[in-house]
């Protein structure tokens, strides 16, 4: 049976209303919708699939009414209602927020990327050694406080502590979970009391250098300007740690960042074991940008 639609010119077009055909079209629309959302294809494909889903709904309704289809045409409507791009995107974002990125492979089934032990966009060493980040954070705090204390005692500088995460924090893996690596951040110490004199400049550099040496950071480099004579930034680094002194006008800033360090909470060989589950799999697109120091 077909529905007849009269056109203005007098001719008519016939719309086929076979429920089986509508169901087949609904399956195709659902597949296209799923592929467009799962593989993050350009939005225009999802928009076309959405339009087709609406057309199938109207077509199915017509079939259900005209052909009195009790099951097949309504089923096609239900299929496109559950499998259209808007629904899939909404459900997908809900699952992503709660379970992280998921992918499906033929040999491993559902892959939970939230449990990925590494960090997207960062190549972990083949045999990472755990670092006692709590002890390191305490050492850093002690070294920086010594430097701040001596400059305050010598010149009466008043310091402000900046915002941001301080201490030991896990680094996100980029797929909705945390990696097995951590970062160590010290508070950002800033003062605006620097008078620009050579004596204070030399004292600030020497104090920062002493703190860096205390932490074993021996590779000094001027990353911007020249702090010895004017505004600039000097960094001391080693073993994934960096202590930075910045002088800009009357402002002196001391910062420290370290990582990624393998957490001491991980058991020996745990990282290798966890990584092997993802060996050979291409990394999916990230949903969070990992903040690697």
């Amino acid at each position: 049976m077909t529905a007849t639609v009269e056109q203005t010119a007098g001719r008519s077009i016939r719309i086929p209303l076979r429920p089986g055909l509508i169901l087949a079209c609904a399956v195709v629309v659902v597949l296209v919708s799923w592929v467009s959302i799962a593989f993050r294809l350009p939005w225009i494909i999802a928009a076309i699939a959405m339009l087709l889903a609406v057309l199938v709904t109207v077509w199915g309704t017509l079939s259900a009414i005209v052909r009195r289809s009790l099951f097949v045409a309504p089923l096609a409507i239900c299929l496109v209602a559950a499998g259209n791009p808007a629904t899939l995107a909404g459900l997908g974002s809900y699952v992503e927020r709660h379970a992280g990125v998921l992918s499906v492979t033929l040999d491993r089934g559902i892959v939970l990327w939230a449990k990925y032990p590494g960090i997207a966009g960062w190549d972990a060493p083949t045999d990472p050694q755990p670092v006692d980040t709590i002890a390191l954070a305490k050492n850093v705090q002690r070294a920086l406080r010594t430097a701040i204390g001596s400059l305050t005692t010598a010149y009466g500088w008043a310091w402000q502590i900046g915002d941001g995460d301080v201490g030991v924090t896990p680094i996100p893996n980029g797929f909705g979970g945390n990696s097995m690596f951590e970062r160590v951040d010290a508070p950002r110490w800033t003062t605006d009391a620097f008078d620009g004199s050579d004596e204070q400049r030399a004292a600030a550099i020497a104090t920062a250098e002493a703190s860096a040496a205390e932490l074993g950071l021996t590779q000094a480099s001027d990353t911007a300007g020249a702090v010895d004579t004017g505004d600039g930034t000097r960094s001391w680094s080693a073993d994934s740690q960096t202590l930075t002194l910045t002088i800009a006008g009357s402002r002196v800033t001391l910062t420290y960042v370290g990582g990624p360090f393998l957490s001491t909470l991980s058991l020996p060989g745990e990282f290798e074991t966890a990584s092997s589950g993802y060996a050979g799999l291409p990394l999916p697109p990230t949903i969070v940008t990992p903040d690697v120091p």
């Binding site: 309704t61 409507i77 559950a82 809900y94 379970a99």
Partner: protein
């Protein structure tokens, strides 16, 4: 006309309300997402209403599939069941 509307609109409406309810309850936990947290109660009420309409639609043979679908969706795709499903599947972080 009412039958046609039920067959054609109820499934899409049920799915739309269900997904919006999930999103609203999810974003409602974020204090910055003010409009969503205010809407979540209304959306949940709408989802319950869709379920009831689904039950009524199931009484007629021609709207039975659409009604059953709406009822199932309101039972499965709601914040409580979705949270339990994620837990049961071991997907909750």
């Amino acid at each position: 006309m009412l039958r046609a509307l039920t067959i054609g609109l109820l499934p899409m409406l049920a799915m739309g309300v269900a997904v919006l309810t999930l999103v609203a309850f999810d974003l409602g936990q974020d204090p910055a997402a003010q409009p969503w947290s205010e809407l979540s109660g209304w959306l949940f009420a709408a989802l319950v209403l869709v379920g009831i309409v689904g039950i009524i639609a199931m009484l007629d043979a021609r709207t039975r599939v659409a009604g059953a679908f709406a009822l199932l969706i309101s039972l499965i795709v709601n914040p409580l069941t979705a949270a339990y499903l994620l837990l049961a599947l071991g997907l909750n972080l």
